[in-house]
Symmetry: C2
Subunit: 334 residues, 2 copies
DNA sequence: TTGCACAATGGCAACGTTAACATTTGGTCG
DNA sequence: CGACCAAATGTTAACGTTGCCATTGTGCAA
């Protein structure tokens, strides 16, 4: 039955329309040097045969794919969905497509991401770095393959873009100090997280810049449970009037932990989180937090590649600041 | 300076290694009919020139792209990250890549997703349907383009796969009835959600199958706030001992709403959610919920396309059941 | 009438790869 | 020693598209 459906080429269309292949091509590209009635005839033939331009032939001829590759070591991760939204939106804007690749190979290296991409039809690539790759310092992007890293670390050969985690902490700490708190306690995250460590640095250095010696931090593990424990531990510390948690889940856990020890938020203790991820999940708490625009980060990365269009655009480093969103979990002591 | 870097082709490698292009090709594919020392010579030449096989030339020759396209109307959505994880994992397994496309065109139709894909280098496509597309009944997939829809509705021409939302409600309702509850109240979601409506049907029909007339449902909007309001409303209903909420955020909101009215969970009222999305975000509550394996759904979709490898595989419909995860929010009344 | 400009279209080649077939080489066996 | 075989390598053509140049046709000024 179902005849083997060989793909329809310009040749087939040309034959049916009684024109040359070249005229078909010109019609596809809507060249002004084809007579309208000829165009219409060709278009009719295309419709009849169900012609669709062949991507491979076209790319081979043109030498470009109009596609950006995205390499991820872990697909599941905070903000990845928003970043992808950004990738897709920017790609769309430039008429590009996005090719997604999971690099689950054991070596967590840029090299492995790069070689994975090299066989795919992409003009440039974006790598989402969550941790520190072993070869960050020595990595060289493939020749002719514009490479953008999503990370806060600056790379000498690749453009980079990310949220500004240092500035995020600066904002939070200065916001709390500005509300009359004498110091800010910190619930951190596991040490292998790049962005988490940068938040920690920001907290520490901002306090020092204000002449305050940072108190002992409490190390968490991103979960609300660890925040809960941290909240209980900090409830007994009389100097603790303000807590900055490295993400919203820990901040929320912390609030509940404080409450379990009879401390009220924000009356007794102020709490600030990061990520604005609680959103519609928690009913009774408008957490003061920092919102990042991950979509914008994603768009920037793809814009950098797709927007270049052949020109050699040079290495650039971009950090987008987050926005502090005021909720109901901070008390003004002034 | 930077000389125009024309891409290195088999021809260049062949010349340097002093062999024919075919031998280079055979070496790339590790054919046994090339002498090991010849292979080594060719490999050395490839390394020296930095040869990378050209995707376009290869696909043109082979007629296949080894790529699956994924069309999404909304990238941000519950479970999409896990589904993508599944897409990527299955693609990887088959040596395929994933091309992601956001269909943000105004018409919410399969046709628009399909035509968007037709110009891209893909062998098949997956469409993630959140709502009901206008042309669901009349849509015909592109010839030669295997199309899989992620939806619970069965389509005559396309394979479909999704979580079994009806069965999910059945499990929850029978679980609660089995614990001695006389009926199960329901917090629904907005009516435009396909999966939500199917959950609603499952709840209603399972109750009826057990000879119980479903009580008036409370319509929510996915947010914890709406769950909170629902909890408060249901707290005054003496017949209400078990509540099934259409997602975890509403379930959690509901619990807090009940508590605000002096009802305790699970002592007074049992609450069950869906999605297992609270995870590490909430510290004090192990919610009984239903966990779906979205990764598996994603893998199935890509397997269906990439696994076929040329053979015409026929239309198939797949629903994966969720797993009820017991937490601490259900009381046994028996 | 010729020459010329311009519009419309056609022919050819090349992009990089590889399947199919062709050729060469070295060795084995009757 | 010639016929034959297998292993190793080479040659050709084709996949679909499009840039470049050539060709044809048409109208208009010289």
């Amino acid at each position: 039955m179902a005849a083997v459906k060989k793909s329809v080429s310009v040749k087939d269309v040309a034959r049916l329309a009684g024109v040359s292949e070249q005229t078909v091509s010109r019609t596809v590209h809507d060249s002004p040097s084809v007579r309208p009635e000829t165009k219409e005839r060709v278009r009719a033939a295309m419709r009849e045969l169900g012609y669709r331009p062949n991507f491979a032939g076209r790319s081979l001829r043109r030498g470009r794919f109009k596609t950006v590759g995205v390499a991820m070591f872990n697909i599941t991760g905070t903000g990845n969905l928003d970043r992808m939204e950004g990738f897709a939106a920017a790609a769309d804007k430039h008429g590009y497509a996005i090719t997604l690749t999971k690099v689950d190979g054991h070596p967590y290296t840029l090299e492995s991401a790069s070689s994975r991409m090299s066989a795919l039809p992409v003009d440039g690539m974006v790598v989402i770095m969550n941790r520190m790759p072993a070869d960050f310092g020595t990595f060289e992007p493939l020749p002719g393959m514009q490479t953008v890293l999503v990370t806060m670390l600056e790379h000498p050969l690749c453009s980079t873009v990310d949220n500004d985690q240092f500035d995020c902490s600066r904002q939070v700490v200065e916001y709390l100090l500005g509300r009359g708190h004498k110091t800010v306690h910190f619930i951190s995250c596991p040490e292998r997280s790049l962005s988490g460590m940068r938040r920690e640095e920001g907290w520490r250095e901002t306090l020092r810049a204000h002449g305050i010696e940072p108190p002992q931090l409490v190390r968490g593990d991103w979960t609300a449970q660890s925040g809960y424990a941290a909240g209980q531990a900090l409830a007994d510390d009389p100097t603790c009037t303000a807590i900055y948690a490295s993400n919203d889940a820990m901040a929320y856990g912390c609030i509940r932990g404080l409450e379990s020890r009879g401390k009220h938020v924000p009356e007794d203790v102020s709490v600030v989180g990061v990520d604005d991820s609680l959103g519609d999940i928690v009913p009774d708490c408008r957490l003061t937090t920092v919102r990042f625009d991950n979509k914008r980060v994603g768009m920037w990365a793809v814009d950098k590649i797709a927007g270049a269009e052949g020109v050699e655009p040079g290495v650039e480093h971009m950090l987008f600041p987050g926005v502090l969103v005021e909720g109901d979990t901070v008390r003004d002591w002034r």
